[in-house]
């Protein structure tokens, strides 16, 4: 590709709300990095950034116009450009599920998809689930059943559970569904555990997560 000149807009150091709030050395170092470097992932890259791309994303019902390094994942767009830090970066490789959001109503790993690929689409994050002060039923159930300990995986668990419940209503089978021809499988413990296997919880709050989801699914808990 042609060598691109460094974009001063991308290289400028921004002082954000988080820079002021967070005092840890690592946090300061990270927020002081240009966005291009954050988009580049864990491996250092000293090359000039590629030309930025302008896209529109409807996030939690609100339209945002963003000018991004094309390497920016949906997760980094949310966390680093829109300050929506509820979606968490766990592994950044699609293995832990902490970054799960709903894109066009379907649950995906936001760390493994580029923001530019979703121009014009709707994204729902953990910040967009409550209706004012009223929590989403899945959020309420997680609170009632103590479906978390440290909380780091929780926003991913909740977004994933909402996507999973919708899939289940639409008749999506799972690997443990006995009869593939049944319209919809009952959300038993085994079904929920299989369907939620893309969300890892290091605190092992799994029994309570399963109980919370069963309650929302209307299954006896």
């Amino acid at each position: 590709m042609d060598e691109q000149e460094s974009d001063p807009e991308l290289d400028k150091i921004e002082v954000t709300r988080r820079t002021v709030i967070e005092t840890g050395t690592t946090a300061l170092l990270l927020t002081a990095l240009p966005h291009a470097a954050l988009a580049a992932g864990s491996v250092e890259d000293k090359e000039p950034p590629p030309p930025p791309v302008t896209i529109g994303l409807r996030i939690n019902g609100q339209l945002h116009s963003l000018t991004l390094d094309p390497r920016t994942t949906v997760l980094d767009a949310l966390r680093e450009h829109l300050e929506l830090t509820g979606s968490k970066k766990g592994c950044d490789h699609g293995q832990c599920g902490a970054c799960t959001v709903l894109i066009e109503g379907r649950r995906v790993n936001s760390c493994l998809t580029l923001a530019v690929m979703h121009d014009g689409q709707s994204i729902t994050t953990i910040e967009g689930l409550a209706d004012g002060e009223t929590l989403h039923p899945v959020q309420t159930a997680f609170v009632e059943h103590d479906g978390f300990q440290c909380g780091y995986c929780t926003s991913g668990q909740i977004c994933s559970a909402i996507g999973m419940l919708a899939e289940s209503r639409q008749g999506m089978p799972s690997y443990v569904t006995q009869d593939l021809m049944r319209a919809a499988a009952d959300l038993t413990d085994v079904e929920i555990r299989e369907r939620m296997s893309g969300n890892i919880c290091r605190c092992a709050a799994y029994p309570n997560i399963v109980a919370a989801i069963k309650q929302v699914a209307g299954m006896p808990t």
Partner: protein, 326 residues
């Protein structure tokens, strides 16, 4: 991640022409490609986004089979009522792969083209003939628990990680492609993936500037369909061994058997010799043993993966017992 320019393909012809350029890569679901780009295993200078091409339909063919567009998501294909009813082995294999979040993004074409999960292929500080031809194979003398026991070479002992492709191999699927001249062809899935030999960096029979448009399935063969996956945890893990089986039996005789295996080789593996042992035979232990012996002729472990030889034998026994009611 290395810098790249991003382009959206508006037509299949545009996508095929664009991929003929050195450094250009197609992105569809992106779940494997972006993972590899973050690690700089893949360093494309140009990404061609094909997500807007009209390749997202599952259609009936005039022969009574199905034509699956290259962009049909793994979750949608697994849930398709026609797949669930007539190609249960494919639905099960898809549902056995990855997580729900990944299946919502991953595409039919991309699943076929996903790269091996060999640890040394993923680690750019280690030699790997597939990633860096001529650099050597760190897996041969390294930790090779997940590696191949069939069809290996001194250059590469990696496996192909797909579940979907294993079921498609049992179903004798065809991979439809188009090239930059607009010429189309159908590649039998048996010839689509290549064994490593001396060129492990060449993984498929796709030519530069040729892209997958669809996968076609012939009408479903008669028999019971089973997909069995053996792995280190109950869900969300790659196969150590997997078997896609379609076995037709009645009155104490096996009429036909198709067996495809994952986790054993750099491509979904079929053994005509093993299948031949089953045809017209009684579904009993000695028949199953004969099939396993035929399958494993020439199998070789590399230390940590020696266990796969007895594991595939036992898994095959179990699957044959299930499909024949023995």
């Amino acid at each position: 991640m290395k810098a790249f320019t991003y382009q959206r393909a508006n037509t299949t012809a545009h996508a095929a022409a664009a991929t003929a350029k050195p450094g250009a890569k197609i992105i569809a679901g992106g779940t494997n490609l972006l993972d590899l780009m973050k690690l700089q295993v893949e360093t494309p200078s140009q990404l061609i986004d094909i997500n807007h091409l009209p390749l997202d339909k599952v259609e009936e063919t005039s022969e009574g089979g199905l034509r699956i567009g290259a962009l049909v998501r793994n979750s949608d294909l697994a849930a398709d009522p026609r797949v669930r009813q007539r190609y249960g082995v494919l639905s099960r294999a898809l549902l056995a792969g990855a997580s729900a979040q990944l299946r919502n993004k991953a595409t039919t074409g991309g699943n076929l083209l996903q790269r091996t999960r060999c640890y040394y292929f993923y680690d750019i500080t280690k030699p790997c003939n597939k990633r860096s031809p001529g650099s050597g194979c760190a897996a041969l003398e390294g930790f090779n628990r997940i590696h191949a026991i069939l069809g290996t070479s001194e250059q590469c002992i990696a496996t192909h990680p797909s579940d979907m492709a294993v079921a498609m191999r049992a179903l004798d699927a065809n991979v439809e492609t188009v090239d930059r001249q607009g010429d189309t062809r159908a590649i039998p899935i048996a010839e689509f993936h290549r064994l490593p030999g001396n060129t492990p960096e060449i993984e498929t029979s796709l030519k530069p500037g040729e892209i997958i448009t669809a996968v076609t399935l012939p009408p479903p063969p008669p028999g019971v369909q089973v997909y069995r996956k053996v792995r280190d945890r109950a869900s969300y893990a790659f196969a150590l061994v997997s078997v896609a089986a379609i076995v037709d039996s009645a009155r104490g005789r096996i009429r036909s058997a198709r067996l495809a295996f994952g986790g054993l080789a750099l491509k979904p593996w079929r053994s005509p010799q093993a299948e031949q042992q089953l045809v017209d035979a009684a579904p009993d232990t000695s028949t199953f043993n004969a099939a396993a012996n035929a399958l494993l002729e020439g199998a070789r472990g590399f230390g940590d993966n020696d266990f796969k030889i007895p594991l595939v034998r036992r898994t095959l026994h179990s699957v044959l017992a299930e499909t024949t009611g023995a």
